[in-house]
């Protein structure tokens, strides 16, 4: 690509940032805020070193459906029924998106 094109692209990206502040470029802290406490039982980034199930390897849909099943007591767990009730369905989606981004 020629120098001219790079400048055009740079201007384009910069313009997008001006037009859409808080959408394209703003950091959405909510997934991390909601999901980082999970590591306290499920291990770093959901990779459990012990007896508690890992979240790594689960698809976004797996996490969402499990959380909703715990929340509604359709799935019987131990602490997870009590914890899942602390989150809205939208928050559950955000949490799942956090883990799906992890390598």
């Amino acid at each position: 690509m020629k120098q001219q094109s790079w400048i055009t692209l740079a201007v384009l990206v910069a313009t997008t940032q001006l037009i859409l502040p808080g959408t394209v470029f703003a950091t959405d802290y909510r997934p991390a805020m909601l999901a980082t406490p999970c590591a306290g039982c499920h291990g770093p980034d959901g990779d459990s070193p012990g007896s508690i199930p890992s979240l790594t390897g689960l698809s976004t849909d797996d996490i969402i459906s499990s959380m909703k099943a715990f929340k509604t007591d359709q799935r019987k767990g131990t602490v997870m029924n009590r914890i899942a009730k602390g989150y809205s369905d939208e928050e559950i989606d955000l949490m799942a998106s956090y883990f799906s981004r992890k390598p």
Binding site: Y29, P49, T78, I83
Partner: protein, 426 residues
């Protein structure tokens, strides 16, 4: 004329496109390179250091901790019960340095100058900070119980900071005679780890039942009720009817004095002879917070409960047991959860962002026997008057849960311990 190089543009574009997720690889944008000093390498401080670097690798994060190794209070009761040895609860800071690029200094933060934004250490270091995080844990109100001072704690251990005190209590349990009484004296609220004294009673009873069956645990409590009480008492009736006796404060449980020389504990004007006396004294925020003028008249640190920034000094955050964190209990899990939130808040503040959602979790397991565990959990949010549990969520496990649930929770207790310590120190 200035040219935008292809390489530089790709770098910039790459940084920009990595946005959208705190904690995603290469998120750091803009890189602030700010200097963060953290005092205290326990559950709160070590987590905060670790997550600051995850959220923004450009940060210059220094952790000051006086011990080379850290013994956790969680699972120290299981060590007393003979389920694990001391190595199981020992952690070091190697990976925090090598993997997470946190600078760890083994030193003691003696004074803080909040105006100059500097920390001074006993080894003579002076560290400047843009943000300071204190996670100093607790210290004790010596002599609040007459006769209970640091010297007395070498005869009647508190074991409420793990390490040499845990070893001492373990040794005393091993050396005491069959038939002797183990007194545990828990303090009034608030204190570190509300269910801890009762798990300790359970784990010591587990040891006594096997090795010194004529002995028992006598809990002389300053309170009339305690964490997970119904679940504990149901289990004690089942497993330790002859090995645990609980005396609530209103029925003569309040310990007013100790006599280490004669191994007596005074409650309700009666002197009780103890073979082993585990005195857990009333507590306050860790000493460094007190000396820095960050505590209130009750000895704890008032903070903005969203950011954990001190309400007394700017750019100083206090997390963990030392902080007044609304309805959150003083637990290792709470401290770790606060460490993550505090890290995110600091990163956001340095970027000029604000975080809309605040969310914390506490999950706490207690072991009654090696195969019988109970739990309490809560999800916390910021309310009008500070941090509160989400209504309809959390709480203790059901009282009528089947034995398989208790067995699972004993298994998960260890799973939790391995996970949280890997998350913090791994």
């Amino acid at each position: 004329m200035n040219k935008i190089s292809r390489r530089r543009f790709i770098q910039w574009l790459g940084t920009a496109s990595a946005l959208g997720a705190l904690g995603a690889p290469s998120l750091a944008f803009p890189k602030t390179g700010a200097r963060i000093v953290i005092v205290g390498g326990g559950f709160g401080g070590a987590t905060c250091a670790n997550y600051l670097k995850r959220f923004d690798p450009s940060l210059d994060v220094t952790l000051i901790e006086s011990h080379k190794q850290f013994y956790t209070c969680p699972f120290s009761n299981a060590v007393l019960g003979g389920l694990y040895d001391m190595d199981f609860i020992r952690h070091d800071y190697d990976k925090l340095q090598s993997k997470h690029r946190v600078k760890v200094i083994q030193d003691y933060a003696s004074t803080i100058d909040p105006d100059k934004q500097t920390v001074h250490t006993t080894a003579g270091r002076t560290l400047s900070y843009d943000r300071l995080v204190l996670s100093p844990g607790i210290d004790f109100l010596w002599n609040a119980i007459e006769g209970y001072d640091p010297a007395a704690s070498l005869i009647m251990p508190h074991a409420w900071k793990a390490g040499s005190q845990t070893r001492l209590l373990l040794k005393q349990l091993h050396e005491m005679p069959n038939g002797g009484v183990v007194v545990i004296a828990p303090p009034a609220n608030p204190f570190r780890c509300p269910p801890g004294p009762y798990e300790r009673a359970s784990m010591i009873a587990h040891y006594l039942k096997q090795h010194k069956p004529r002995s028992k645990v006598l809990i002389l409590d300053a309170k009339d009720k305690f964490s997970k009480q119904a679940l504990f008492q149901d289990a004690w009736d089942e497993f330790y009817p002859d090995h645990i006796e609980w005396v609530p404060g209103s029925q003569g449980g309040i310990v007013t004095a100790v006599d280490p020389k004669h191994m007596t504990v005074t409650a309700d004007e009666e002197k009780i002879k103890a073979a082993v006396a585990n005195i857990i004294p009333p507590q306050k925020a860790g000493d460094v917070a007190y000396r820095a003028g960050l505590t209130n008249d009750k000895g704890w640190c008032p903070v903005n409960q969203k950011t954990f920034e001190s309400t007394i000094y700017k750019n100083v955050h206090i997390i963990g047991d030392a902080s007044i964190a609304g309805k959150m209990p003083k637990s290792g899990f709470s401290a770790s959860s606060q460490g993550k939130v505090c890290a995110a808040e600091i990163v956001a503040a340095l970027r000029g962002d604000t975080i809309g959602t605040s969310s914390w979790v506490n999950t706490c397991y207690s072991l009654i026997t090696p195969d019988y565990g109970i739990s309490v959990a809560a999800v916390y949010r910021l309310g009008d008057k500070g941090i509160v549990g989400v209504e309809g969520a959390g709480g203790v496990g059901p009282r009528d849960a089947p034995l398989t649930t208790r067995q699972m929770e004993a298994v998960y207790a260890e799973g939790w311990y391995r996970a949280i310590t890997a998350d913090i120190f791994g």
